[in-house]
Symmetry: C2
Subunit: 371 residues, 2 copies
């Protein structure tokens, strides 16, 4: 199944259209994270107004609560959550492996205790496919194993063998021809294992390829080395998805390398802690210096929050522990990320991505800025 | 200053227009509570879409945080919070007296420790007027003393003498001719003291009269006895405001007696705990019975939440501790209260308030219903 049409390239950066059962998605795309069937502190109405075309949800979380069969009974995730655009579900591999001592990996699958109530569960690659079928998402991910950083060569090698076997079983288990299934390339922080994992998954012929197991504590340069090692190998007619990244500076780096899809909790989680993005970097609205600041978060932002409220008011809301703060901050950051991706796509279209990249980098200050 | 125009009466129930610096307000009116300059878990955009014409904020809270002079410097509460409709500020008398051992009443004013950081403060009736002038609200309240239930006759009598003196001083301190100032009738749970307090305040000729110090733990019938004792005395050409009430059944009782204005945290606080109003009563959406319930909260409700989501989804959000739950539930309850007041006004207009009252009461079940 060919689900992406590449319209244009600017060096390695790709402009495309991802075709899903719930509409076309302009790529490169950033998917806001709605782990439990909602973006935290935002409504789907807001997302549509901003122009979001695809969100990410999590099969593991929805399986535990409210349950994948319940979602199926209620008409699937789109109807249940009143979201008629695309949904990608992560398998939950990353979340399960983050449980640490609460999980045990076996060749057949993974045994774990629920983070909610401690109940015992056993998930196989086949069951994870069934869960995603019940959820009714548009793009599914195979169950995979993430290894921590650092991990030994031997352990990582065994792990990619397991991930490959699980990918094979996932593909075999998938009957639904409408949804797309992505394989997840692992291989820890060993270039040859990354290449081997990529080769093995490409051989299985998935609808798209994700790069998983990155941004788990390793240095940034090492992370990009792992991406660089396999980018050239990935089929040009399939979407490439860099999982769990990241800050604006990471997204622009990924696009430069030819990545089409991103997701991350950063814009929403950071918003709830008072971190608000501007085109120079991130400010923290809790800072006392914003107490009387009449300016919007960013003078050039067209979001509801910036069109309506001063930094002074937003600071008042967060220091006063007002729930409205979570909402207004979240809207701004999601809008900002959406604008960033729009500008990126525009730059590729005009074949000036490199200029855009350089200009962005010259303005952008990592971490927290003091604007 | 005459600030209310009574358009019609149906028995004692009054239909009117309250005139403020920020627009006309149809009465009877229910003001959602925005203690700290925002309705909790809702935006002012939402309130306008619902049709809210006036909100309540709190002088005491805004004085402590972000500070009344800061709000003044930033253009007043309307500009600061981007709300161009009417704002009434409570003086904070009730909040200060709720501090218990943390406050000391003196004839000049009240000394208290901040509930935020323990810092010491001293507020006089004059300072509370100045605070409201700085905030820039449309209707101001005098600083008053609330007595707990039960309180002795002697203590309550002394207390209304103090409230009267503070009311006199408040009136004298007020220079701003644009805002309206309300006196607050106290008198605990002694009819003669309520009557005396009402007489004394009426003599001072305020722009409106509030009935304070009720719903503090006394039986409902005793509360209505206190209201009934003074309703006939209140000038017909002035607005009457029953402070801090209440549930839908309380509002309809108040309207029946000739009350024009209400405020209460009930719709918003209850929403955050999963209590959602229907025309039969309040359901608790956390209940397991709603797990697969495809219906909206109320089939006859036109709010965004009811037009968009099932009870099953709303239950999922609240049991999953999703912030979106606070937002969607709050919108529904505010919409519900606004509809209730609209229907009440319509019934008075058609001179069928008594029929409406009886029909409402025949359907309405107090407490939590099992729908």
């Amino acid at each position: 199944m060919e689900i992406i049409e590449i319209l244009k390239k600017s060096e390695n950066a790709r402009l495309g259209i991802l075709k899903t059962n719930h509409g076309n998605v302009d790529t490169p795309v950033f998917m806001p994270v709605g782990t439990q069937g909602t973006i935290k502190a935002a409504t789907h109405k807001d997302l549509k107004e901003i122009g979001i075309q695809m969100i990410l949800s999590n099969a593991y979380h929805l399986y535990l609560r409210p349950g994948d069969t319940l979602i199926k009974d209620l008409g699937g995730i789109h109807k249940f959550s009143s979201w008629d655009k695309a949904v990608l579900t992560d398998s939950g591999g990353y979340q399960i492996f983050s449980l640490g001592v609460l999980r045990k990996i076996r060749p057949e699958g993974v045994e774990f205790q629920s983070h909610i109530d401690g109940s015992k569960h056993f998930l196989t690659p086949e069951r994870v496919i069934e869960i995603q079928d019940n959820i009714g998402s548009d793009i599914w991910m195979c169950l995979d194993e993430c290894v921590p950083y650092p991990s030994s060569y031997e352990y990582t090698e065994k792990s990619i063998e397991l991930t490959k076997k699980w990918a094979e079983r996932s593909k075999k288990a998938k009957k639904n021809g409408k949804a797309a299934l992505f394989g997840i390339i692992q291989g820890g922080f060993y270039k040859d294992l990354r290449i081997r994992s990529a080769n093995e998954l490409i051989e299985l012929d998935f609808d798209g390829y994700a790069i998983g197991g990155l941004s788990v504590g390793e240095p940034k340069s090492l992370m990009w080395d792992m991406v660089d090692a396999i980018m050239e190998m990935l089929p040009h007619d399939k979407p490439r998805y860099l999982m769990g990244l990241g800050f604006p500076e990471d997204i622009i780096e990924g696009v430069k390398r030819g990545i089409d899809m991103f997701d991350c909790i950063i814009p929403t989680r950071v918003a709830r802690n008072g971190g608000l993005f501007t085109w120079e970097g991130k400010i923290n609205i809790k800072n006392a210096k914003y107490q009387k600041d009449k300016r919007p978060i960013d003078e050039n932002c067209g979001c509801y929050t910036c069109r309506t409220y001063s930094r002074a008011y937003l600071r008042h809301l967060i220091v006063s522990h007002e729930l409205t703060s979570f909402y207004l901050n979240t809207l701004h950051n999601i809008y900002f990320y959406n604008e960033l991706l729009k500008k990126i796509r525009e730059a590729i279209k005009m074949d000036v991505f490199d200029e855009f990249y350089n200009e962005f980098k010259s303005r952008w200050k990592g971490g927290e800025i003091n604007d």
